[in-house]
């Protein structure tokens, strides 16, 4: 499996490097957190909003931008196309589940993005030297764990919507609703702390939070140890949930596919 993966990754890396310019443009399409930062920044001119000062907004949204860039997924566009055009049948002949090819190309994209984002993050830090994060060995470990989980959740949930293309033609539209939910309740439009209490209580347990907001919250220093523990349990639950859902949908979908493909 490891050897197969390194082969897949090498191939994906080669492809990515060929489309460098296009990846940079795709990266620029992820500016929405910065737009929201500009809005909240000027709203907070008159004083902190729900405990967030201008500096807190800068810290929050810069990291949110980074998390969004590093968890970006697009697999549904490929999966939906390949299912509807039948291209998937070629991939099914490969001695490896197609999901691994998609994972490899996403990982290659992340490696490329990281290479651009690290210098940019340093520049951002020079421009805003006052940004602050609660960095301890524990929060840092949790941050990277939550970042990986966020990517897994975004990837697997989108993959599940993609699998729906076996049965319906509007899979991408359903995913658009899911994506809108993530922008709203995943902490892009506003940090979850700024929502009314009744909404926040529910949003804290919804998958959207763990697709973007949770890694940022971990190093924000606003979560109590109990919050961290409860959040981590909910995060693990959602990852497990989508793994199971993916396996179930995939096995059903494949049967459906061969039923009309053969």
């Amino acid at each position: 499996m490891l050897r197969k993966y390194s082969a897949l990754l090498r191939r994906a890396m080669g492809l990515m490097l060929e489309y460098r310019a296009s990846i940079v443009i795709w990266m620029l399409t992820g500016v929405m957190p910065l737009v929201m930062l500009a809005v909240w920044f000027s709203l907070a001119e008159g004083g902190p909003i729900a405990g967030y000062s201008q500096n807190d907004f800068v810290s929050y949204y810069l990291l949110m931008t980074l998390v969004r860039q590093l968890t970006n997924v697009w697999v549904i566009w490929e999966l939906d196309y390949e299912i509807r055009h039948g291209d998937l049948s070629i991939k099914l002949l490969h001695p490896i589940n197609p999901i691994h090819e998609y994972i490899a190309s996403h990982l290659a994209d992340k490696a490329f993005r990281l290479w651009i984002l690290v210098p940019l993050a340093l520049v951002a830090w020079l421009i805003f030297p006052t940004i602050h994060y609660d960095v301890t060995p524990i929060t840092l470990t949790l941050f990277f764990g939550a970042l990986a989980a966020a990517w897994i959740l975004r990837f697997l949930s989108q993959y599940c919507f993609g699998i729906l293309a076996f049965w319906i033609s509007q899979a991408i539209t359903l995913n658009e609703i899911w994506f809108a939910g993530m922008l709203m309740l995943g902490g892009v439009v506003a940090p979850l702390d700024l929502f009314p209490d009744q909404v926040r209580v529910i949003a804290n347990y919804l998958p959207f939070r763990f697709m973007l907001s949770f890694p940022v919250e971990i190093v924000s220093g606003r979560l109590t140890p109990t919050d961290l523990l409860v959040g981590s349990i909910a995060m693990i639950f959602w990852v497990a949930f989508f793994v199971v859902l993916y396996r179930w949908l995939w096995s059903r979908g494949i049967r459906q596919f061969s039923a009309f493909g053969a």
């Binding site: 399409t29 809005v39 000027s42 909003i49 729900a50 509007q170 539209t173 609703i177 709203m184 700024l194």
Partner: protein, 261 residues
């Protein structure tokens, strides 16, 4: 006149084709309303914490949201379908047929198709603007309506110019879907009045990616927040972008190498 007649034929043709996909109407209408509600919820979060946004009250910001939806509809129904068509024509070389027609190529390339379903956004956008006016209890004066119409016309010209420039890029890059997505990413900033942005960002959104002219300024005109000078600047800016985009299109056209050569 001849061009108007051609446009009618083009649109009749596309509408007939579109009518075959009536399911799209339902899902498009649903998504239009969904994104509108999403936008209004987003704005409401700001107003949970503050009474104004860059000096704009809630109903005034709603008007900007209405214009945002209105222009989303304009772009999605009248402009975006043509970008897709041009890309395809450039890729398989059938763009030759566009060039050999005895009609201006820019006219055909940029206005050939229409997706009527997306006009839903235009309608609900207008509805939100009217609702916001009702909430404000203001009746715009004829002068304000005049300024508003001038600003809307300017905004349409600016939006058209932006899309023409994006289409022109297809002569070099062919695959330009990421360029249109990039524009939409910046267009997101147009959900809120431009006065909320500070410094460089505001300059960027006014003159470089002129989103302020699309959503904020027409709303300002209707609210009587705009002076005649700004209206004239907007109008001149629109004409300028139209001419510039036309130049750019002609320049890009020279790089078209037919598929066979």
């Amino acid at each position: 006149m001849r061009y108007l007649k051609l446009l009618t034929i083009f649109y009749k043709n596309s509408i007939l084709k579109e009518l075959e996909y009536r399911v799209n109407f339902l899902s498009n209408a649903f998504m239009s309303v969904f994104w509108l509600v999403w936008g209004i919820v987003g704005v409401s979060i700001f107003f949970l914490h503050r009474d104004t946004m860059g000096d704009w009250t809630y109903p005034e910001v709603l008007m900007v949201v209405g214009l945002f939806t209105f222009f989303t509809g304009v772009m999605e129904s009248l402009l975006r379908p043509n970008v897709g068509a041009v890309i395809e024509q450039i890729r398989d070389g059938t763009f030759d047929f566009v060039l050999t027609k005895p009609v201006n190529a820019q006219f055909i390339a940029s206005l050939r198709s229409i997706v009527i379903w997306r006009l839903v956004d235009v309608i609900i956008g207008i509805a939100v603007i009217v609702y916001a006016l009702g909430q404000l209890h203001v009746t715009p004066t004829p002068t304000q309506i005049g300024f508003f119409l001038v600003m809307i016309a300017s905004a349409v010209a600016i939006v058209y110019s932006i899309w023409l420039v994006m289409v022109s890029f297809a002569f070099w890059f062919v695959k330009i879907d990421n360029i249109t997505e990039l524009f939409y990413a910046f267009y997101e900033a147009g959900r809120y009045p431009v006065t909320i942005y500070r410094g460089v960002v505001r300059v960027l959104l006014t003159f470089i990616v002129p989103i302020a002219f699309i959503t904020t300024f027409p709303a300002s005109a209707l609210l009587g927040r705009i002076d005649p000078t700004t209206t004239i600047i907007g109008f001149v800016f629109a004409i300028g972008s139209f001419i510039a985009s036309n130049r750019f299109w002609n320049f890009a056209l020279r790089y078209y190498s037919s598929a066979s050569s």
